[in-house]
C-alpha cells in the first residue's frame, strides 16, 4: 500500500513538473493590434503577423485607441505604420508616434520598408518632366491623399514637372484611375505596380538604390526617397522569441518577399520617428 502511495505521488509530481515545464515553454497568446485600415497594405502586413504568431486580432479605430489597447494588454504586438503616424500628426491626433515605444517599455521586433513606383499606362507616352510651358497637357499625378498636398505639388513643379497632384484614398484607387484614363501618372506601392506586368510603364522609383531613382531626375524634391515603414513592437517579456517566430514562419517570410517589403536591420524606432517628423516638416501646412 505504502509503495503504491509513493508511486502515485511520484507520478503526480512528474506530471505536475512536466506541466509546469510545458507552461513555461508555451508560446504566449499574442494580441496583434492594427492601427491602419484593414484593407491597407499595413493592415495586410498586420494580418500576416497575426497568422505567423497565431494570435488574437484587434482592429483599432485610430492610433489613440491602438495605444490604449496596447498599454492595457499583456503580450500585445503593435503594427505601426509611418503613413498613419504622419497623417495623425497632420490631424493633431495624440499617441500615434513611435515615442510610445519608449513610454511603454516595449521593444521593437522588426522594421520594414516599402517603396513607391511612379508609373503611367503602357500605351501612354507623356513626359513627367517635360517642358513646363506646355501647361495645356494638364499633366496629372495621382497619389494617396495624405501626401497630395500643395507643398508637395510645389516641390514637383520646382523640380521641372508641370504636374498637378490629385488625391486618392490609396494605391489601389490610384491604379484604377490610371487604367481608366483619369490621370496620366500614378504614385503607387511597388508590389501593386509590379503585379500589373506589362500594363504599366514604371519610370521612376523612390528607392535610392534603384537605377530609376526619382531623386536623380528631380533633385529639388525634398523627399524623393519616400518609403513606408512598418514597425512591429511588443510588450511581451521575451521579444527574442517573438522575433524568432516571425523569422521561422515561412508564410510570413513569403509575404515579406511577395509584398516587396524589406526588413531593415539598419533602422531603429528613433530614425523612423525622425523620418515621419521630416515628412511633417516638409509637407504639412
Amino acid at each position: 500500500m505504502k509503495k503504491l502511495l509513493i508511486a502515485l505521488v511520484a507520478v503526480i509530481a512528474v506530471g505536475a513538473g512536466a506541466y509546469t515545464v510545458r507552461l513555461a515553454n508555451a508560446a504566449p497568446e499574442y494580441t496583434v493590434i492594427n492601427q491602419s485600415s484593414k484593407a491597407s497594405p499595413a493592415g495586410v502586413f498586420a494580418q500576416a503577423v497575426r497568422k505567423a504568431v497565431d494570435g488574437k486580432w484587434y482592429q483599432s479605430s485610430n492610433c489613440t485607441d491602438a495605444s490604449a489597447k496596447f498599454n492595457s494588454t499583456k503580450d500585445a504586438v503593435m503594427v505601426y505604420n509611418s503613413s498613419v503616424a504622419f497623417a495623425a500628426l497632420n490631424k493633431k491626433l495624440e499617441n500615434c508616434q513611435l515615442d510610445e515605444v519608449a513610454k511603454s517599455n516595449a521593444k521593437v521586433v522588426l522594421i520594414s520598408s516599402s517603396r513607391m513606383l511612379i508609373c503611367q499606362r503602357a500605351d501612354a507616352n507623356t513626359d513627367l518632366f517635360g517642358d513646363p510651358s506646355r501647361a495645356e497637357e494638364n499633366l496629372t499625378l495621382g497619389m494617396a491623399s495624405m501626401y497630395a498636398v500643395p507643398k508637395h505639388e510645389a516641390q514637383w513643379n520646382a523640380s521641372g514637372s508641370a504636374v498637378k497632384i490629385v488625391p486618392y484614398s490609396g494605391s489601389k484607387t490610384v491604379l484604377q484611375a490610371l487604367m481608366a484614363g483619369d490621370i496620366n501618372w500614378g504614385w503607387m506601392g511597388q508590389s501593386l505596380a509590379l503585379k500589373q506586368g506589362d500594363k504599366l510603364k514604371c519610370e521612376y522609383s523612390t528607392d535610392p538604390l534603384s537605377t530609376q531613382f526619382l531623386g536623380k531626375r528631380a533633385p529639388k524634391l525634398v523627399i524623393p526617397d519616400f518609403r513606408i515603414n512598418v514597425v512591429v513592437y511588443s510588450n511581451t517579456a521575451n521579444v527574442e522569441r517573438l522575433r524568432e517566430t516571425l523569422n521561422n514562419s515561412s508564410a510570413f517570410q513569403n509575404y515579406i518577399t511577395s509584398s516587396k517589403n524589406k526588413v531593415e536591420s539598419g533602422l531603429d524606432a528613433k530614425s523612423v520617428d525622425q523620418y515621419v517628423q521630416r515628412m511633417y516638416n516638409t509637407w504639412a501646412d
Partner: protein
C-alpha cells in the same frame, strides 16, 4: 466543388425561409454573410450564396402570399386583395404559373446580366470606371432616390446630406471641420445602420394571425403565355435597374399590365420581380455600384474583404472559368431547383408559414442579437460606443417610420458617401 454545392443549398434554404416568412427580410442572405465575412471565403462562395438566397425570396414569397395571404416579402403586398377573387383551383394553377414565370424571368435575366458583364464589362472598356462615367452614374443614382418619395423631396435632400456628411471614412483630404464630424461617427458599421434605420423599426409591426390554410395538393399548369411572361420579364429587367426598392417597382409596373384579371395581375407581378432581383445586380457587377439594400450589403461585404467586385469576378476560378461565369452557371442550376421546389410540397410550405409565423419575431430578434455580437467583435469600436451609435441610428429609424418617410436615401448616402466625396475631391483637383 462540393463546397460550392453546399453553399448553393445553404443559399436555397435561406432564400426559402426568407421568402416564406415575412419577419425575415429579403436581405437575410447578405446579413448572414456578415457572420462569415471575416474569414475570407472565396468570392464565388459569397456571390453564389447571395444570388441563391435573394432569388429564393421571390420564388417563395409568392407561395406564402397565395396560400396564406401573408406577404412573404414586401413586393407581394400589392396583390393581396386579388387573392380573395380566386378559387382554390385557380390558386393551384397560379402557384404553378408563378413558379414557371419566376423561373423564366430569373433565367433570362441571368443570361442578360452575363452577356452585358462579359461583353461590355470593365475588361473590355476600362473607361467604364473613369471619373466622368462614375460622376454621371452616381449623380443619376442619387437623383433617382427622389422617386422613392417625390412629395418629400426636402426630407430626401436632408437625409442624403446627412448621410454624405457622416459617411466618409478616414478621409484625410477633407477639410478639418468635416474630418472632425466624420470622427464623431467613426467606427459605425453598415450592419449597424441597417439595423437601426430599417430592421428595428420594422420589427414593431404587429404580426397577422393565420387561422386557416387551404389544402392545395399537386399544382399544375393552366396554359402559361410565354409572350406575357417575356413582357413581364422585360418590365422587371428594366425596373431592376432603378435604384431603391427595385423588386417592388417592378411588381407595381407589371401588376398594372394584367388588366381586369386578378390571375394575370398576380402572375405578371410575380414574374417581373424575379427579373428585377437579378438585373439590380448588374450595376454592381459592372461598375461596383450598389443600387438597393441587397447590393448595398454585398458591396460592404466586398469592402470588408478588401475585394474590388468588378475585377474580382473577372479572375479565373474553378475549371479555368472566370468567377463570374461560374457564379452565373451555378445560379442557373439553382433556378431549376427553385422551380422544382416551388411547384412541389406546397401544403408543407403553407403549414410551415402557419406554424412559424407568430414565433418568428422572437427568432428574428435572437438572430439579430447574435449578429450584433458578431458585428461588434469585428467593429473598430468598443461596446459602449457601438451601442451609442446604434441607438442614434435607431432613434432616426423610428422617427422616420413615424413620419412615414423611407430611410433608404439616408442608407444609400451613408454607403455611397465615401465614393461620392472622393469623386468630388478628385474632380475639383483635375478640372479646377
Amino acid at each position: 466543388m462540393l463546397d460550392l454545392v453546399f453553399v448553393s443549398f445553404a443559399g436555397i434554404l435561406v432564400g426559402m425561409l426568407a421568402g416564406l416568412l415575412p419577419a425575415l427580410p429579403v436581405f437575410t442572405g447578405p446579413l448572414i454573410l456578415y457572420y462569415f465575412v471575416q474569414d475570407y471565403y472565396p468570392v464565388e462562395y459569397l456571390l453564389v450564396f447571395w444570388l441563391a438566397s435573394y432569388s429564393g425570396t421571390q420564388f417563395f414569397g409568392s407561395i406564402a402570399t397565395i396560400t396564406t395571404r401573408i406577404p412573404g416579402e414586401e413586393s407581394a403586398a400589392i396583390y393581396l386583395d386579388d387573392i380573395d377573387n380566386l378559387t382554390t383551383e385557380q390558386k393551384r394553377n397560379l402557384l404553378y404559373d408563378t413558379a414557371l414565370g419566376s423561373y423564366i424571368a430569373a433565367t433570362l435575366s441571368l443570361v442578360f446580366v452575363w452577356i452585358v458583364v462579359t461583353y461590355f464589362g470593365i475588361g473590355m472598356f476600362p473607361e467604364l470606371m473613369s471619373m466622368p462615367v462614375q460622376i454621371a452614374v452616381y449623380s443619376l443614382a442619387i437623383l433617382l432616390f427622389f422617386l422613392i418619395q417625390p412629395s418629400k423631396w426636402i426630407i430626401t435632400v436632408a437625409l442624403i446630406a446627412t448621410g454624405l456628411l457622416i459617411g466618409p471614412r478616414q478621409n484625410y483630404a477633407l477639410p478639418d471641420v468635416w474630418y472632425d464630424i466624420q470622427q464623431l461617427y467613426n467606427g459605425y458599421t453598415l450592419y449597424m445602420v441597417v439595423l437601426g434605420t430599417i430592421i428595428f423599426p420594422a420589427l414593431i409591426d404587429p404580426a397577422k394571425r393565420i387561422t386557416e390554410v387551404e389544402r392545395f395538393g399537386r399544382v399544375r399548369n393552366r396554359g402559361y403565355s410565354i409572350l406575357t411572361g417575356l413582357r413581364s420579364t422585360l418590365i422587371g429587367a428594366v425596373a431592376g435597374l432603378i435604384p431603391g426598392p427595385s423588386a417592388s417597382v417592378a411588381t407595381a409596373f407589371a401588376y398594372r399590365t394584367g388588366g381586369d384579371s386578378s390571375y394575370r395581375r398576380i402572375l405578371n407581378a410575380e414574374t417581373a420581380n424575379n427579373s428585377a432581383v437579378v438585373t439590380c445586380a448588374l450595376p454592381f457587377f459592372l461598375l461596383g455600384l450598389p443600387i438597393n439594400q441587397n447590393t448595398l450589403l454585398m458591396s460592404n461585404i466586398m469592402d470588408v474583404q478588401s475585394l474590388d467586385i468588378v475585377s474580382a469576378i473577372q479572375e479565373t476560378g474553378m475549371f479555368g472559368w472566370t468567377i463570374f461565369d461560374l457564379v452565373i452557371a451555378i445560379s442557373l442550376c439553382v433556378m431549376v431547383i427553385y422551380f422544382w421546389l416551388s411547384t412541389h410540397l406546397i401544403d408543407f410550405y403553407a403549414g410551415l408559414v402557419q406554424r412559424l409565423h407568430h414565433h418568428m419575431r422572437w427568432v428574428v430578434a435572437l438572430i439579430l442579437l447574435a449578429l450584433i455580437a458578431v458585428d461588434l467583435q469585428y467593429a473598430e469600436i468598443g461596446l459602449g460606443r457601438y451601442l451609442m451609435l446604434l441607438a442614434s441610428f435607431t432613434v432616426l429609424g423610428f422617427w422616420l417610420r413615424k413620419l412615414k418617410i423611407s430611410a433608404i436615401p439616408f442608407l444609400f448616402a451613408v454607403i455611397l458617401a465615401d465614393k461620392v466625396i472622393w469623386l468630388g475631391i478628385q474632380a475639383s483637383a483635375i478640372y479646377f
